[in-house]
């Protein structure tokens, strides 16, 4: 489903120093696979994820989503992005739209669905994530956990083939983390292809098929969760795990 080949993303720092946010990353994510990406702050996890849907223009390398090369000159990035859902740390719901409108807008604008069809789909998804009764509220009236569930539903409304999560629970109060993780587990069970950046080690253990450990823009370790959490090979992964567990 996702192929990444020798991906580079270099930021020019303010003082002229180059930051290699993503440094020679190659990996693959199969259909239906759940991959959890962990690593210390600033290790390039977000940047890597954002390269996968072209939100960040990368400097070198190749990203292929479902057989379509992002770098090919005739590739329409907008067409790719509608197939790749993304959930952000800070939800990024549209504050001037109701919950329902948040879910229907892109369906109508991008997928050209009729209003009735889009609303139908939206209500089904809101029911699925358990907040159908808030459909006509504005996002500011919702709790963080509810907002993040709306954000997940909004991404799902486009019928994406892949879902990317960038620390979806980091901005939440602890008591709301569970409700969001439950939705994500449910998705994984249904066979969604997912790449998840998170600090929730429990989620990684339970749901992930593979764990990628990143530091300094590189993937240092790529292993199934049982293996990674019991016997990490990389010394840096060992130190990191000691700190977070």
């Amino acid at each position: 489903m996702i192929k990444v080949n020798k991906l580079f993303k270099i930021f020019e720092g303010r003082n002229g120093q180059a930051v290699r946010a993503v440094d020679d990353v190659s990996t693959q994510i199969a259909k239906g696979e759940v991959v959890v990406i962990i690593g210390p702050s600033g290790s390039g996890k977000s940047t890597f994820l954002r390269c996968l849907n072209g939100l960040e223009a990368f400097d070198d390398g190749q990203v292929v989503i479902d057989g379509i090369d992002l770098t090919a000159s005739k590739t329409n990035l907008n067409a790719i992005r509608r197939e790749v859902g993304m959930v952000f740390q800070h939800f990024n719901l549209f504050p001037h739209k109701t919950v329902l409108e948040n879910l229907t807008l892109a369906q109508q604008v991008v997928r050209k669905r009729k209003a009735a069809e889009a609303e139908d789909k939206a209500m089904k998804l809101l029911t699925k994530v358990g907040i159908a009764e808030k459909a006509h509220e504005y996002p500011s009236r919702l709790s963080g956990g509810q907002q993040q569930r709306v954000a997940i539903a909004r991404a799902l409304a486009m019928d994406p083939k892949v879902m990317l999560f960038d620390e979806p629970t980091s901005a939440l109060d602890p008591e709301m983390v569970g409700e969001v993780l439950d939705v994500m587990k449910q998705l994984a069970k249904e066979g969604m292809t997912m790449a998840v950046v998170t600090h929730e080690m429990g989620f990684a253990r339970e749901v992930a098929h593979r764990v990628l450990f990143m530091d300094f823009g590189r993937i240092l370790e790529d292993a199934p969760p049982t293996e990674f959490f019991t016997a990490p090979k990389e010394p840096r992964a060992q130190t990191f795990l000691k700190q977070v567990l």
């Binding site: 849907n53 939100l55 907008n78 067409a79 992005r81 509608r82 197939e83 790749v84 859902g85 993304m86 952000f88 800070h90 990024n92 719901l93 549209f94 504050p95 001037h96 739209k97 109701t98 807008l105 892109a106 604008v109 991008v110 997928r111 504005y138 500011s140 954000a151 909004r154 991404a155 486009m158």
Partner: protein, 322 residues
């Protein structure tokens, strides 16, 4: 506690009233000193007046008869040289002839009276519609320029910067003169078009800066979320960024449009008969200088207050989603 706080307010409100009364008294004494005589009664006629249009006999002849129809009277005149009788209608109250009387050509038969719009009302109307049209055009110019200002294309960006700096760095009065005497002459523009053009260009530059700031104040996460759903840059701008930005820039835009109404008084220098020009013209005939200027000021105040109320109401409606 609230009662106590209110009690403490009274002395200050009293002082406020005292100061206002003092100012009014000062004004009164000042006009006394220069022996100014107030003629407020002369003002209303410049809003609307009862116009009397004299009706005269088109031919010399004899009044055959007078048929009253409602408040009017139809006078039939048999011309001296023979032929068909001619009819003239006047208001009965102003009738000056009797049946059987002979009248000379151009003789005064009576009058038709009607309410006419006075120059103050007319000037007010001109001010309102000139401000409205130039505000509307300025809004469009400002939106386009604001977007160009943020464009990654250097040509668009620098054109926008150049325009904004040129307009903001020169006085409006000078811009109006240039627009009227130079551009207006080259393109053979009507003075009203030139005035509206100058005002629109002026307000457009300020609106552009307001819109640019508004767009930049919308967090990047908003457009990233929209793009991640597959929306194009244009769709993101139209559905996500601009609606939110517009809500935020409403207060500064309101201020800009209120300024525009006041600034529009400068077009009177190219002989557009707006409220200010009307005021100046009236003074030459009425000699009620102070009254007219006070009235003109009051009219501007009324228009700007109404506008700010409307915009305030709009702002509250947009605040629904907060």
């Amino acid at each position: 506690m609230p009662a106590k706080r209110r009690a403490a307010q009274w002395p200050w409100l009293g002082l406020l009233v005292l100061i206002l009364v003092g100012l009014a008294a000062g004004l009164w004494f000042a006009t006394q000193r220069i022996h100014y005589e107030w003629h407020w009664a002369r003002v209303p006629q410049y809003f609307a007046y009862h116009d009397e249009e004299l009706q005269i006999a088109p031919v010399a002849g004899v009044v055959l008869r007078i048929n009253p129809t409602g408040a009017d009277s139809r006078i039939e005149i048999q011309p001296e040289g023979g032929g068909q009788p001619v009819t003239v209608t006047v208001e009965t109250e102003t009738l000056k002839v009797k049946a059987g009387e002979s009248v000379a050509e151009d003789a005064d038969l009576g009058a038709v009276r009607s309410w006419k719009i006075g120059p103050l009302t007319w000037g007010l109307w001109v001010t309102i519609w000139i401000s409205f049209v130039s505000g509307l055009i300025g809004m469009v110019i400002g939106l386009i320029t604001g977007l160009c200002r943020l464009s990654p294309n250097p040509t668009l960006r620098w054109l926008a910067i150049l325009y904004i700096e040129l307009i903001r760095g020169t006085p409006l009065l000078v811009q109006i003169f240039i627009f009227y005497f130079f551009i207006g002459t080259v393109l053979n523009l009507d003075r009203t078009v030139a005035g509206i053009g100058a005002l629109a260009l002026f307000v457009g530059a300020y609106v552009a800066e307001i819109i640019r700031a508004g767009i930049q104040s919308i967090p990047r996460g908003q457009s990233e979320a929209a793009r991640s759903l597959g929306m194009s840059a244009t769709e993101t701008m139209i559905y996500i960024v601009l609606p939110q930005a517009f809500k935020r820039v409403l207060p500064p835009l309101a201020g800009q449009f209120i300024s525009l109404i006041k600034d529009s008084s400068l077009v009177s220098v190219i002989a557009i008969t707006d409220l200010t020009k009307s005021g100046r013209e009236i003074i030459t005939s009425s000699f009620a200088t102070f009254e007219i200027w006070f009235t003109v000021a009051l009219l501007y105040l009324v228009v700007t207050s109404v506008l700010s109320q409307v915009l305030f109401w709009l702002e509250r409606r947009f605040a629904r989603s907060d």
